[in-house]
């Protein structure tokens, strides 16, 4: 068991242990390391940018592909449809007007 005086002495010695401290020296190649790190960070940033652009392009391509595909499928279906449909009978303007004013059907005769 230490006396209070001894504890005080030891505490003060520890507190003063940093007196006359010699400054630690940084790595002599610090500048070269910093330069390398800056280049590495730029390359990483560029790679991230490229990856992002690649993903965006892939999404855009997929979007265009889906649109082109659906356009092709719908178009094909619309071309095939007229084969089964009835031919449309074209009317001249005079025939259309006469039909409107003098209907041949008896739909309106009560």
């Amino acid at each position: 068991m230490k006396t209070p005086e001894e504890i005080e002495k030891l505490s003060n010695a520890a507190l003063n242990s940093l007196n006359h401290l010699q400054p630690a020296e940084a790595n002599p190649f610090l500048f070269a390391k910093i330069k390398h790190k800056i280049i590495q960070q730029r390359q990483e940033a560029a790679a991230t940018h490229i990856r992002l652009m690649f993903r965006l392009s892939a999404v855009l391509l997929l979007f265009i592909g889906i649109n082109a595909g659906s356009f092709y499928v719908i178009n094909k279906w619309q071309v095939a449809k007229p084969k089964t449909a009835k031919p449309i009978k074209t009317k001249s303007g005079v025939e259309a007007v006469s039909e409107e004013y003098f209907p041949t059907t008896n739909a309106y005769s009560y």
Binding site: A14, L15, L21, Q22, P23, I34, I38
Partner: protein, 189 residues
């Protein structure tokens, strides 16, 4: 090269100016960061990051303080950020370990021997650094700037953006707390 010329050089992305800044301040910044982090590898990494920040953010330097003061501020912020990150990881790791999810060892800084301490003081300095680690952030920063960088209260006040009175109070509280911790340690032996 004057400080103004250095700043202009950095703004123009001049490599010579950047090299001069690194060579002028690297030892001071490394020492401060080493005192805060108490690990040579971490201190070197943070010192590199500090100068990268200086290079990239020189446009944000308004010239209200000296360049050295601004670099010190960046260094202290970077070092403290690393400690906060480690502590967050430690707390998160502890919570996860309660659920048995994290088998990773929690971060505990090892005993630190500063390379510049006199041989006869090595043992006491290890105990002192252990106590410094337990100080609140502001007290730790002020104490390290005074003890390791030989900074005066005015300069510490500029770096920490506090009044001189506040720095004086921080230093006195830091010394008081350290004395209490050291006494408790020697009592327990």
């Amino acid at each position: 090269m004057t400080e103004e010329a250095l700043i202009n050089g950095l703004l123009k992305r001049d490599e010579t100016a950047f090299k001069t800044v690194v060579d002028t301040y690297k030892n001071r910044i490394y020492n401060t960061v080493l005192g805060i982090l108490q690990d040579a590898d971490d201190a070197e990494d943070v010192t590199q990051d500090v100068f990268i920040k200086v290079y990239e953010n020189i446009g944000k330097f308004k010239g209200e303080a000296k360049l050295s003061t601004w670099i010190y501020r960046i260094a202290i912020t970077q070092a403290m950020d690393l400690i906060r990150y480690r502590n967050r990881k430690k707390r998160g790791g502890f919570i996860l370990s309660l659920f048995g999810a994290n088998k990773e060892l929690l971060y505990e800084p090892p005993d630190f021997e500063h390379p510049g301490v006199l041989a006869e003081n090595k043992e006491q300095s290890v105990i002192l650094f252990r106590a410094i680690n337990k100080l609140p952030e502001n007290q730790k920063t002020a104490f390290i700037l005074q003890k390791m960088e030989d900074k005066g209260q005015r300069e510490i006040a500029e770096i920490m953006q506090l009044s001189e009175g506040a720095v004086e109070s921080l230093l006195s509280r830091a010394k008081g707390n350290l004395k209490k911790m050291l006494s408790a340690y020697y009592q327990s032996l």
